[in-house]
Subunit: 156 residues, 2 copies
DNA sequence: TAAAATAGGACCAATATAGTTCTATTTAAA
DNA sequence: TTTAAATAGAACTATATTGGTCCTATTTTA
């Protein structure tokens, strides 16, 4: 349905909050109280983010999670990669080859792949730091640049 | 999962084929033979596309479907709108307001909405005519322009 | 040694999607 | 005028995905 999963949505929420306190080690219990999500879910999200090295974790008593790198170096695309089960791609055949009956001369596939590339680039352009506050001028400018020449298709 | 539904995928396939014969009236039976999809599914897709005025239909014997307008004037975004149940939006709260517990001071939401706008613009830039053949130079150029300055976030 | 934390994996319930089927309506042709 | 060929719409079922929970193992501090 062209939606990011709820886990991914939660992930941006959690990471965005953590970005505000880069030096603090957050336990799941702590995040549970601040954000209005339940512990097992937050835990699940953080584990996945840890496996993809977007957060670093400290085990044992007094342990917790913190961003693995500055919020300027974590992109929305990376969060999606970490939390979505399937590989990035708007259609199945554009993400994973060989899944379509037609294949072979299916010219559409290559074009879906190009569309994927562009969409992904957009998602790679926005970082966690951008999500915290109203988008800063630089990001806004970049998005506007992407958006403005709304050339509708190639005329004939 | 950030995927377009299969119906949407089928839709692009069906429309792309129809774009090759703008004057021909296609029956479901005919399309069934050409594309390797079953009749009820094709029918379902075409009905939805008809409701959104991307195809026009002629009822009764000898009836069928044809593109409602030139393939240069049907965008991928429009196809998605027609075949996806839910309104366009990468996250629920960015597509439909008032669904999130947090709301109010949720700064993330506004940013998700901006991301949506850009992604949608990309999908609006690609039309059906583009999907038929390897992307023509003009579209290719536009995509590259969108993609190239891969500025990673606003530095600090 | 006990308590507080994360790691990993398995599991169940809820939701969403895909696909099918049925009935109604329209229109051309016999 | 009747029949057949088509689309329109809606409801239904089965399957797949996702969301959420729970259990056990491991790590580390006090």
């Amino acid at each position: 349905m062209l939606r990011v999963s709820k886990l991914t949505d939660y992930g941006t929420l959690v990471l965005t909050h953590m970005a505000g306190f880069p030096d603090h080690l957050f336990s799941v219990a702590e995040l549970t109280q601040i954000l209005h999500l339940n512990a097992p879910t937050i835990s699940k999200v953080l584990k996945a983010l840890g496996r993809h090295e977007l957060v670093s974790s400290v085990r044992g008593a007094r342990g917790g999670y913190a961003l693995a790198r500055p919020a300027t170096q974590i992109s929305v695309a990376q969060i999606i990669d970490a939390l979505e089960d399937q590989p990035f791609g708007l259609t199945e055949c554009s993400a994973t080859a060989g899944t379509c009956d037609i294949e072979g001369d299916c010219r559409i596939r290559a074009n879906w792949q190009r569309i994927n590339t562009v969409v992904r680039r957009v998602l790679d352009d926005v970082c966690l730091a951008d999500m915290v506050e109203p988008l800063p001028p630089a990001t806004e400018a970049r998005m506007v640049r992407h958006a403005t020449p709304a050339i509708k298709c190639t005329p004939q």
